[in-house]
Subunit: 610 residues, 2 copies
Amino acid sequence: MIQYRCPLRDFEFALYEVLGYEQHLATLQGPVTPERADARAILEAAAAFAEKRLVPINQSGDAEGCRLLDDHVQTPAGFREAYAQYRDGGWTGLSRAPEWGGSGLPASLGVAVTEVFATANWSWSMYPGLASGAMDTLEAFGTAAQQARYLPPLVSGQWTATMCLTEPQCGSDLAQVRMQATPDPAGHYRLNGSKIFITAGDHDLAENIVHIVLARLPDGPAGTRGLSLFVVPKHLPNVDGSLGRRNGVRCGGLEEKMGLKASATCTLHFDDAEAELLGEPHRGLECMFVFMNAARIGAGQQGVVHAELGYQNALAYTHERLAMRAPGGNSGPAPIILHADVRRMLLLQRAIAEGGRLLVLEAACLLDTAAFGRDEARGTAARDRLAFLTPIIKGFLTELGIEAADLALQCLGGHGYIREWGLEQNLRDARIATIYEGTTGIQALDLLGRKVVRDGAQAVQREAQTIAGSCERAGRHPQLADAARTLRDELFRWVAMSESLVSDAGDDPLVVPAAATDYLMYSGYLLLGHGWLRAADAAAGAIAAGCGDVHHESKLATATFYFARIFPRVVALREMIGAGPEALVAAADPALRPAEREPSGPPIAAMSRA
Amino acid sequence: MIQYRCPLRDFEFALYEVLGYEQHLATLQGPVTPERADARAILEAAAAFAEKRLVPINQSGDAEGCRLLDDHVQTPAGFREAYAQYRDGGWTGLSRAPEWGGSGLPASLGVAVTEVFATANWSWSMYPGLASGAMDTLEAFGTAAQQARYLPPLVSGQWTATMCLTEPQCGSDLAQVRMQATPDPAGHYRLNGSKIFITAGDHDLAENIVHIVLARLPDGPAGTRGLSLFVVPKHLPNVDGSLGRRNGVRCGGLEEKMGLKASATCTLHFDDAEAELLGEPHRGLECMFVFMNAARIGAGQQGVVHAELGYQNALAYTHERLAMRAPGGNSGPAPIILHADVRRMLLLQRAIAEGGRLLVLEAACLLDTAAFGRDEARGTAARDRLAFLTPIIKGFLTELGIEAADLALQCLGGHGYIREWGLEQNLRDARIATIYEGTTGIQALDLLGRKVVRDGAQAVQREAQTIAGSCERAGRHPQLADAARTLRDELFRWVAMSESLVSDAGDDPLVVPAAATDYLMYSGYLLLGHGWLRAADAAAGAIAAGCGDVHHESKLATATFYFARIFPRVVALREMIGAGPEALVAAADPALRPAEREPSGPPIAAMSRA
């Protein structure tokens, strides 16, 4: 059976000992800023709910899955009850404005709490999770009437919401969206068409579902600039807020997926569905992208989630399971955690889970500042930094989260491969993370193309300065001098590599796409290294001040491991990037022809440099 | 729907253009050695059966799974019929001695043919696959009476067989086996106890199943030296060969696994089961290990299988799916194969599938020579080389096979995550490969501990000489000079690293376990580089001779890709190995304590260097 204990100590360490959360909160104007004891109490309450209510329905939800009944989707046993308790506990409005019934706490605390629920049961957490982006969009672009109509029941959790983008012919490339929106005589719009892969597109947890839908107006230009956003409630609300008649949107099918089986992934058919325009016509994609950073950081958090869950369970197993003599041990079989390779796998998982948590919480603090910074300069700086960090956090942490989940399974040997222990499910659930909310390849193009090349590597240089400062501070602790030097030396190479990509990209349009994914991973290992160095610095400081504990010692040990056994991956990535696009171009024609089919001709020819 | 076309051209390229298969066969004494046209005809027949009969029941088998009925296991629809046709086609005896009804062809051809069936349907192929090791064991250690009783029905496929090793408390560490074997008054033995994870432990494809079981005699010493092998047929055969009464062995449960759902993984309960001793008492493990190389190469082949299947399907999809403008292309959405990162993922899969195939077929030729080499020196050399290569082929190719299957899924984006396309199943099926038949960690200890350190790195030096010869030959083609130099330079570092590990291992028992897995991967990238350099050499030679084709051009392109974008991983691995065991030891106490549990104390303390 899968187990989960909320790592409260590590949340506190990350927030208060590394990120200076109290000072951070003092810079915000707007949100309710909790005292440390209050934040702790909120995390403890989340932990209690997650451990007692969400963990027990994690594996059963996977086994049972969702069912499409005549007119709605049925979630697995216990999901409704857990949602009702969650909603009644006020969790849906934790970091929403009091104006709409929320508690007004900062986004950062919301992100921390989300990790707890999500680790306990990722599939379940997607039902309330999807409403977040919809509420952001309504808050920013809704009319006063739309906000009054939709925000209170969404903030209270009485209703949930979806984001409807993907269609059968397009996912990453939304320029190909075909969903039609036609004005009707009553001043509304009518939507016709189908959307696929809609998370929480239908379910039985809430009485109503508000769909935010990307569609094309009749006079919209082709491509992404012709797309508009619409609000399409499952049940049309009456003027008094009560539920009116059923709208023309229905779930036509559920995907059979590798994992996330308890999360309903729906095909939605819109059949003359009554819709309201949200925001300005033809600017739908821009509206959606305003909240892309928050959504992608939420998706990046999934890497932390599956690394943490896998690690905790693998750790427990490897303490119990006996096999072979330990090096230097006596003759009997030893707990397998004593075997070096098992330790290597566990430390890798821990480095990803805890290091990733720090990066996600740091980004969450930037979300706070971007929205509620006391001064404009600080807000702008936060938004710029966030824009740079987001694709790395999403792309890199999800890749490493899958690696961690995979190693957790491996730690259990054959038992990892069977359902009972929950670690094969953890890997299956994790596997989607590098795909949705923009694949790793898409994140990589966003990072290298827009956030580095188009930016002239200015954001890289600013980030490098920040990291260099951490290296200098950490280097004062003698036991961290090596790690600080390793990171600082690599920093120079990273900046140089970034600048040379900026300059090469002008000459050759293949430079960016050929290097992008390796560059994203390279940047990720640097950022994670920054996280581990700061964690070690904080730990060394605490120990030097005489208030060190076992968590501090473990931070030092894990940081040592990170720089010795994970960070060297940057060297390989640098070489691969340095190889340039030649190898991909050389292989253009012959190597990628489908076996024993006629040569495809034109499309392949287009790859060569004309 | 999953598709598969047998890569006949690549089999011929690997066997005849790279490995010199005709010359190899001429060195054998014993097996029937096929002409090239005959070998081709056999592969074509295997392809026809695999494509028409096994592919269509691959996804349906996964969806349906196996069922445990009252007294036997029911396989998914179509499995029985396909097995009957396979058996009637004589495939079970392809490389078995004519003495027992086989066709007497060399093991190497059997390995090639196995890849074809296994790629079409890995789960199905495990039912006949498991009999192979059992037949090897009976041929080598059975009495004449046992051979006459069991080999003919196994070779004809009328019966199948299993290998029963694992018990609930032990997998890798067979010293902990508890299954009891007690002599009975009739001169037989009685087995009592349970085995788990028994592939094809029960099913409805054949009328009888012969279990080869590891158990402990009453007078056996503790540990692995007290284990003996036993033959336990499901139905006891009568003197005339007909089936007699049911023996005391029954399937008590089927594992619910991540993948391989159509393959029955059984718990077997032995309840006073009548057994015959196989081979000498207390030497059971030695007997099993005689065939470990063959079994592990078969398991390593699974990496090739899932890389090939994923690659073929991802390739087809990426030619059809349209998204975004291609670099240098016109404005409309392009087939995604034109995007550099998609090409990178596809070339990686291809490099693993085709490069891995070459390594497996080379090892298979060594199996031939080990068993049927014309002179003893050649046989000994083949056995020694095989012993060295086997853990690398098993450990490295299965790790890379999973990576390839993972990237194939990624090429399809969201569609990769849903059942319909078969690529999530391919990853689920692939995932077991680094676990069974010895985990990667176990292979790594075998390689670095036994085959390098205990050997004084002699095998490494011999292998390096062979590779150096290939570098010299390939370097004569100007377009391969860079790749040849890259590989040769790395070769020196590999030998130096190996020798330094040999010398350090004497001083510190943690050196080998801390470095083993990274060393195995390092060695794997070298061997795969050797494969790609030889493939490119053969291709360049054919092109220079005026008989080049598109397959040759693709070999050159894929080799270029391999050295530019995969091979640099060796640099990172070298750094990680060079970091030594310090980081794992430093983390010994604090970092691996289970969260919020009492410290475990003694076991962790045993890890530190006392």
